[in-house]
Amino acid sequence: MSGTWISTRAWLLMLPLLAVMIAVIGWPLVDTVRLSFTDAKLVGTEGSFVGTENFTRMLTGSNFWRALVITTLFAIVSVAAEMVLGVLAALLLNQQFRGRTALRALMILPWALPTVVNATLWRLIYNPEYGSLNAALTQLGLLDSYRSWLGEPGSALIALIVADCWKNFPLVALIALAALQAVPRDITAASLVDGAGPFNRFRFVSMPYLAGPLLVALVLRTIEAFKVFDIIWVMTRGGPANSTRTLSILVYQEAFSFQRAGSGASLALIVTLLVTLLAVAYAALLRKAAGAA
């Protein structure tokens, strides 16, 4: 009796949330699936059923594969750099020194900034006429003349990766710092007595405590990097010459710039599937890591 009441009450309490979730996630998802099988335009026409034509066209076209390569490159390089920088920063901030607390607080700042603000800041830094990067490099004698970092296909993606790293490495550093602080002092002391140097202490003492939390950071950051849109949209809009056009930018262009809602929806579903596959693979990896621990 009381069990039924608790169950009914639980459903009643969850109902508003469920209603909102169905309205803002469930229904759009279902509608996206429907749209992906039509030739609907963004405005004007409901479109007619075209079967899997959208999917075939997307998967056989070069745009998708090029965007996939750019997205993968962006995700791998930026996440790898964030991991290395984050761990190094955490190791530094885990040392005893004057001003450590202030530095820890300062480090969070880039991560706390909204992405759009961060992207605008970096656009200013990279500006070909008055950007501080050009000024700094020419004054140091490392550059002969000002360059358009975001305007050249060869450097735009790297410039974006740097901006993304600057914003996101603090998150990795925070996670790694928390993990490092969980390393028991006695184990560190034991390794000192055992004669382990700084590298071996990191490898044998810190790493086992870092591995789990870093794996979580890796999962979160890879999925986010794979879905990246805002920083690229503000800084390059996928250009120049589509050299920074990631999958999310491609979806946006297809659905909104070219107003092809049907093929945009099919592309969005392909991206969703890829991210889901990543998430499932990482979840399995995490379970394995937890089992090993």
């Binding site: 006695d186 002391a189 034991a190 000192l192 007595v193 055992d194 044998f204």
Partner: protein, 361 residues
């Protein structure tokens, strides 16, 4: 030759001085226990010996060589921690051999040393296990093995048995004693457990507030405590301390009519009218027959607790209280007065103000 010498060690953290001049010299093969309550500075002293903390003043010599400023690995020491401090990702064999591995000892030699140590500690069957698969006692054996395998000049133990349950603690205590007797190692052992100190040590340094209150053999510490603090800290139940005043050839206890005869050894140091503290160990007290001559304390029994091997009796003596450890079958009635007696050799006298033993000079 001293295996370890600690000379006038001071340690300050800002305005707080946690060690106020510690001097100890340890011969090879000695088992020194640093005994004291929390915050007395014993672990700080051990960390200074290990090189995990630097002193603010003084010197530490290991094998007659100053090790101040030397890295812990270069001090020829090994340390066993309260939390075991085993590397969680390594199996037992690698944990034990890690110090040798870091010292680039050849693999075959290392493996032989690990096996030998494991055999000594009876953990040969655990060599492939991870620390998480071990019980508390097994982990402590591995931690001891990690220290033993390197055969260092000095072993440091930081409350190694505190995390074990009472039964296991007793077993490991015996095990440590056996190992020390067999290997004749030099040990500095920190504990707040006076039973561990009494059973393991060849010498005990009772520490209080950053100083050594008394340094001596377990017998000296127990039989001739230098201060009231030592008298109260060592022994369970602790020594009875009674307020009294000397009356020439006797001791008048405050709050009751009993006068205890003053043993001759105190006559020169306890002139009449001196305020003193009288110390008598609970286990020195026994029930007095009506015609027993000598010292007698008449007290009203308040609480009787049978612990198994003894009957712990608490009794009121005027405004003061005494505890006596009597044989388990002693017939006592709570609420009634009983006479207790003791050998005059069991009587200790301390200065009421300084707390120092009147015989300690």
């Amino acid at each position: 030759m001293s295996a370890l010498e600690i000379r006038n060690i001071h340690k300050r953290y800002g305005q707080v001085e946690t060690l106020k001049g510690i001097d100890i010299a340890l011969e090879s093969g000695e088992f020194l226990v640093l005994l004291g309550s929390s915050g007395c500075g014993k672990s700080t002293l051990l960390n200074i010996i290990a090189g995990l903390a630097e002193p603010s003043g003084g010197d530490v010599l290991i094998g007659e060589r100053s090790v101040l400023g030397a890295h812990p690995k270069d001090r020829d020491i090994a340390m066993v921690f309260q939390s075991y401090a085993l590397y969680p990702n390594m199996n037992v064999a690698r944990n034990i051999g890690f110090g040798l591995e870091m010292r680039k000892s050849p693999a075959a030699e290392r493996e032989k040393a690990v096996r030998e140590t494991a055999r000594l500690l009876q953990i040969e069957n655990l060599l492939d296990r991870k620390p998480s698969q071990l019980s508390g006692g097994q982990r402590q054996r591995v931690a001891i093995g990690r220290a033993l395998v390197r055969n260092p000049r000095v072993f440091l133990f930081d409350e190694p048995l505190s995390n074990l349950d009472a039964k296991l603690r007793m077993e490991m205590r015996t095990e440590l004693k056996r190992l020390h007797q067999m290997l004749k190692t030099t040990v500095v052992y920190v504990t707040h457990d006076q039973i561990e100190a009494m059973t393991l040590a060849t010498r005990i340094a009772v520490m209080r507030d950053g100083r050594i209150e008394q340094l001596g053999t377990p017998e000296e510490i127990y039989d001739r405590p230098a201060t009231l603090y030592v008298a109260g800290f060592v022994g369970s139940p602790p020594m009875n301390i009674l307020d009294a005043e000397t009356t020439g050839n006797g001791l008048k206890l405050y709050g009751c009519d009993d006068i205890l005869p003053l043993p001759p050894r105190f006559e020169s140091v306890a002139p009449a009218g001196r305020r003193v503290k009288v110390g008598i160990r609970p286990e020195a007290l026994r029930l007095a027959a009506t015609d027993t001559p000598g010292a007698r304390l008449t007290a009203r029994v308040e609480v009787v607790e049978l612990t198994g091997p003894e009957l712990v009796t608490t009794a009121a003596l005027g405004g003061q209280r005494i505890t006596a450890c009597l044989p388990p079958r002693t017939a006592l009635t709570t609420g009634s007065a009983h006479a207790f007696t003791f050998d005059e050799t069991a009587l200790h006298l301390f200065d009421a103000e300084s707390g120092r033993s009147l015989l300690s000079g």
